[in-house]
Symmetry: C2
Subunit: 409 residues, 2 copies
Amino acid sequence: MKEFFKVTDLETVLDYRTEFPRVGLEQVPLPEAVTRILAEDIVADEDIPDFPRTIVDGYAVQGASTFGASEGNPAYLAVTGSIAMGASSKFEIAPGEAARIATGGMVPPGADSVVMIEHTEAIDDTTIEVYRSVAPGQNMIAIGEDINRHAVVLSKGQVIRPQEAGLLAALGKQQITVYQKPVVGIVSSGDEIIPISKTPQVGQIRDINTYTLAGLIQDAGAVAVPYGIVRDDFEMLLEKCTLALSHCHMVLISGGSSVGTRDFTVDVLSALQDAKILVHGISISPGKPTILARVKNKSFWGMPGHVVSAMIVFSKVVRPFVEHLAGQSGTEDSVLRLQARLSRNVASKQGRVDFIRVRLRHEGSRLWADPVLGKSGLISTMVNANGLVQIDINTEGLDKGALVEVVPI
Amino acid sequence: MKEFFKVTDLETVLDYRTEFPRVGLEQVPLPEAVTRILAEDIVADEDIPDFPRTIVDGYAVQGASTFGASEGNPAYLAVTGSIAMGASSKFEIAPGEAARIATGGMVPPGADSVVMIEHTEAIDDTTIEVYRSVAPGQNMIAIGEDINRHAVVLSKGQVIRPQEAGLLAALGKQQITVYQKPVVGIVSSGDEIIPISKTPQVGQIRDINTYTLAGLIQDAGAVAVPYGIVRDDFEMLLEKCTLALSHCHMVLISGGSSVGTRDFTVDVLSALQDAKILVHGISISPGKPTILARVKNKSFWGMPGHVVSAMIVFSKVVRPFVEHLAGQSGTEDSVLRLQARLSRNVASKQGRVDFIRVRLRHEGSRLWADPVLGKSGLISTMVNANGLVQIDINTEGLDKGALVEVVPI
């Protein structure tokens, strides 16, 4: 029990991430690559576009043929043809000439810009009046203007959003090399925990944490594997943890909040081969009674038993490990933080990082963070909250009206 | 063509949402319900917890037995037993008595609070010294303190986050009634569009928009069904659209940006049974050439051809329709908006809503929005952006340093 008070600070815990190897790679078809983590740099092997392309409907011209044109003094151009969509142009544009062209069509050789149809009037089948001048390059995309051949357009470790999928489609990439999804096992432990299908007898409680953690794991881009509920029994817990470790990249022991479960977690970890306890308590609140061990090269967590503590520890501590395993780069900067003002004072102890549950509220253009009060055993407080505020280790509480950064949950 | 200039404003377009019925319901097992939309109010049929539960390790007592206790003047209590985890207590606590209890255990009858083990010292097997007083209710959760029987704890239309899954687990809900995922078809059209597996000939371009839109549809919680590429041919387009409409809740025509494709979209819509064109152009930029029709009771969109325009129209116009179909309530308030300062002037025309692509950048505690410049045909500009700023219809541009709200993309 005394070891619980040799707590580790949050940054030191997060630094242990690099001790764990990233998961392996796999190839997936492009449509399945969205939300996945790219596992290779993507170098463009083509110019996009690879032909000069108009972005308006109108006439391809030499810009110089239109210089000085206005409503009162239009330029007269000879229409020498029409550009078919999706085809190469068969003719060249000379000074004083124009070719009809629809958005997306290829600007023909000789032409360097496109006059919008709205700024022209057809006089007859072969002559137009042009009422505005266009500069060379106007209303068109030049070869390589979107993507330059040989450029590194996407980097290993990036999340593939819809626009990155579009870029990959533009380059004709049908199979994408991504990191596998980390597999995270959940072993639920505690004599008082029962399956959600059962009706609790007095003193018993349903297995809330497995479902909450499974949702968080999925939300972090990993695969959750629940291993069911184990009683506070050394042999049974050891067996289940050994099984989970053999199948998963990471294992969470969850559920029991009693000192009994915590002690069993430490005993089981000590009995596993090649195990080293790295963290035994973290200087955060809630979430102090968290255990991190390295077993072979996998991370093994003893999660706090209270559901709010477990959720906060997952979001602030375990999730960065999952993202590291998953190959994600630049985690810190990608976290959304909203600036809001606290609507009431909140207390905090120096010497630990406090996480306050808040509910965000728009009031005109101002965003307020209303602290959600309640014990960390109450799932309802997390249901009422939609953000977390971090109070740093050297801060003793925050005053009403203080500007805080809120991470949405 | 002239009709294009009778544009509809954004709010009016969004108001059409209610003309389309929500999708049907289905039952899913709890673990699959995370990220889905709840389709029924959830009323608690039990108190959670349904027994008084300690949230610390220590001794269950009557608070009054500890009043006035301090380091210098401890209270002496008689230890009458130990509470087993997950079991009902067999005895009552009288004044001056205490029972050993571990976190999660049932506070026995007679006791009204729990003294933390850290604030006690065992004198012998049956006596403890207590150094701090506890108030009735302290360090425990009362019956129904988390969830009150008969309370409406979750509402129809809510997104099920991990914490809502935890709440449902607490109540023993194994099967959850959720809205089905809307099915959105994508018909790609345009003579210049080729499958991504092909190498473009001069004048051709790969089908970027289908992959981008499919990613956005998935991200909005719906199922994307690509129907492949159709040439600008009335009969073929009509046939494909009829097929897509018969299988999907919503159909997008995408890909071609030429006036030819737009004209075909209108012709095909006019030829479909029970079709009414509701919107033919929207006063937004980019995204003006957007068409919305109601065909029977389904929405049918002619999307702009440029990929940036298509993405912005999806995010700002089509997505709210998807969320409406999906049963989601309170869409507006759930959209995250970050406050940032513009790092340079941006121009905007009055009479339309402009959407500016930006890249967010933290500089100390200040968040900057760097406008990403570039034509709307360039997918690379969306890859470089991670947010959108809306400039309202009556605003003529924004100055460097202006405070803006950024919606992440």
